[in-house]
């Protein structure tokens, strides 16, 4: 009953015309971002953060969330028809989706991707509705030691589960934490690493930093890379051609169900998110299939499972952010930035202090998923044409959005220089396999981590045992330490225990 009452409150917010409009803009932009191979959802959210200054916090988060889950829908279209994943979470869909299209079943592949995404998206949201309130309630008992252990575990997981080597990822997380200390000390307001300049007293702004890391570095990457002509297969008929036949439905149902459960659970883990869930879902389907040889040659389960997984993961990815204030991935870190730009700190108190916002954002995602289903199926032809847009026209759009966005933070060209600096850094960091996600998460989580560490030590009179003796913080800390030591242990015992974020290709 409580949940129904809360959902009614949420729908009363999300069904307001202004929020419906922002939800539509978000899912439309998200679909376009998913379709366009040159631009990711993280970059787009980073580019649009300054635009949200003039919006209400609820509308801003509704729009940015729409971009996030909308990109998961859009990514499947180009994966299936052009073998170009617009998003990393659509890479697995390419394998069997493109083969289905080659065999003349492009419509069925697109249809099952859309229906699977919709079903998984809705189920993921139901999970979010059921899990978030009790978890937020539980998290109200968290004190500084629990928050310190939680942030430490989050950063370790992000470094461990991301792409690239663990020491590199941990070094990037440490660099992010270090950058987060620039400015005034959060406890005593003493200046740190400001070099006597007024500009650095307020710390490094998140907006120019992420616009540089994701926007400018992406432009530099596009300028440095030759755009290849796209191969296209499969002629699409009308809407009816998008309906899978009875046998295809029968084959896909189980995969959708399993993909949804896997996506939801993996999406909860910091650092895992949509991409890893698609690898796991695909691998599980292939392993349990009586005909694994069909995978890679156009098996519909190979489309249904990863597409369901990445959409279920978007819903569950919000749970750590909304209930604990802990972003599970880089997109959620940007979402945390959007909350903070409006003076709101997400976490366990969000549900009690801002229930209209909490439930408004969640219910908008139900509406957004319906919009996406209606939007995606009839407009597939248009999206395919857009995917063929030459990158030369995309580059000025990203560049101008970055420049205006960075300048708009303080109406100061210094922020543009900061953005360019991070752009160059991001470009070269990725070239040398240094992942950017731990850096951003470290930067965002740094102040919380520092405050909770210092408060814990003051409370305990300098005894580090406070982290180990409290059951929740002790468990979280033990998990973080084990994860950090795992590469070393696996090397010592001659095993390679670390799962890699690479597709289990057939």
């Amino acid at each position: 009953m409580d949940i129904l009452h809360s959902l009614a409150l949420g729908f009363s917010v999300s069904l307001q015309p202004i929020n419906l409009a922002y939800c539509f803009v978000g899912v439309l932009l998200g679909t376009l971002v998913g379709v366009l191979p040159g631009l990711g959802s993280a970059a787009t959210i980073a580019l649009l953060l300054p635009v949200t200054y003039s919006m209400s916090a609820t509308s801003a988060v509704i729009m940015l969330a729409g971009i996030w889950y909308g990109s998961m829908y859009g990514g499947s279209t180009t994966s299936i028809l052009l073998r170009v994943p617009g998003e990393s979470a659509s890479v697995m869909t390419c394998i069997d989706g493109f083969e289905m299209a080659r065999r003349g079943r492009a419509g069925a592949a697109l249809g099952i991707a859309a229906f699977g995404s919709f079903i998984a998206g809705i189920v993921g949201l139901v999970g979010l509705v059921l899990v978030a309130p009790p978890l937020a309630d539980f998290a109200l008992d968290f004190g500084p030691p629990e928050y310190f252990a939680l942030t430490l575990l989050g950063l370790t997981l992000v470094s461990y589960l991301g792409s690239g080597s663990v020491p590199k990822a941990l070094a990037m997380a440490a660099l992010g934490l270090l950058l987060g200390t620039v400015g005034l000390d959060p406890v005593r307001s003493a200046e740190r690493f400001t070099f006597g300049t007024l500009t650095l007293q307020g710390g490094i702004d998140l907006v120019p930093m992420v616009m540089g890391l994701f926007g400018v570095s992406q432009v530099l990457h596009l300028v440095n890379t030759r755009s290849e002509p796209l191969e296209s297969v499969g002629q699409l008929g009308g809407l009816l051609s998008l309906l899978p036949n009875r046998q295809e439905w029968r084959d896909a149902w189980g995969a959708i169900g399993r993909g949804t459960v896997i996506g939801f659970l993996v999406g909860l883990l910091p650092g895992a998110g949509g991409t890893i869930s698609t690898y796991v879902a695909y691998a599980v389907e292939k392993r349990r299939s009586p005909h694994p040889e069909r995978f890679g040659k156009g098996a519909i389960e190979g489309v249904a499972a990863p597409e369901s997984a990445n959409n279920a993961a978007t819903g569950s990815g919000f749970i750590p952010l909304l209930t604990l204030g802990l972003p599970a991935n880089v997109v959620m870190a940007l979402m945390l930035g959007a909350f903070m730009l409006h003076g709101i700190t997400p976490g366990p108190t969000l549900l009690t202090q801002k229930p209209d916002m909490f439930w408004g954002v969640i219910t908008s995602m139900f509406i957004g998923n319906v919009m996406l289903l209606v939007l995606n199926l009839p407009l597939i032809g248009l999206f395919v044409r857009l995917a063929r847009l030459k990158t030369v026209y995309l580059i000025p759009v990203i560049v101008v959005a970055c420049l205006v966005g960075a300048y708009a933070v303080n109406n100061n060209p210094v922020d543009v220089y900061v953005m360019l600096g991070f752009g160059v850094f991001g470009f070269y960091a990725e070239r040398f396999n240094f992942s950017l996600a731990p850096l951003v998460l470290g930067f965002v989580l740094g102040p919380l981590m520092e405050t909770s560490l210092r408060q814990s030590l003051i409370i305990s009179d300098g005894h580090f045992e406070i982290f180990a003796t409290r059951p929740i913080s002790g468990t979280l800390l033990a998990a973080a330490v084990l994860l950090a030591l795992l590469p070393l242990l696996s090397r010592m015992f001659g095993q390679r225990a670390r799962p890699r974020a690479e597709p289990p290709l057939a």
Partner: protein, 155 residues
């Protein structure tokens, strides 16, 4: 000659991790001037010192194992590095000229460079696209309450 080249490449691969180690050491030196406090009452230098040590340790560990070649997604554009540095120089020039010259002129010039210089689009469509896009952007953002500098056009 080949061994010299491979040694040079190996050095290049280690350079990013080595830079992070140096950065960590420099930050640790700077953090040492901040009051550390005690474990019972940690002060402003406490957390940065711990983080600098962590950065040095992890970057050092990656330095020890950094043999992987740089990532190469997609086919590199011929003269790609030159294009990257031309674009960066243009962006720095843009940031420097934005306030005195103004948003409209700077943005038009930048888009022309991107379309014509880096994208081989013909002059006329490049200039037309750039002028229209800059004016539209200027109108949109000033309406949204972002005062973009008018500069030489001074309106």
């Amino acid at each position: 000659m080949a061994s010299l080249l491979s040694a040079w490449r190996a050095l290049g691969r280690r350079l990013p991790s080595a830079t992070l180690v140096v950065l960590g050491l420099a930050a640790l030196y700077k953090a040492s001037s901040l009051p550390f406090g005690t474990v019972r009452a940690p002060d402003s230098g406490f957390f940065p010192t711990l983080i600098c040590i962590a950065l040095i340790v992890f970057a050092g560990a990656s330095l020890a194992g950094s043999e992987a070649a740089p990532a190469s997604e997609g086919t590199p554009e011929p003269r790609g590095a030159l294009r990257v540095w031309v674009l960066l120089a243009a962006l720095i020039l843009y940031a420097w000229a934005l306030t005195p010259v103004g948003f409209l002129l700077c943005t038009t010039a930048l888009i022309v460079l991107l379309l014509r210089g880096l994208g081989d689009v013909a002059w006329l469509p490049s200039i037309a696209c750039a002028a229209i896009a800059s004016a539209a952007c200027f109108g949109l953002f000033t309406r949204l309450g972002v005062p973009l500098p008018a500069g030489l056009l001074g309106f």
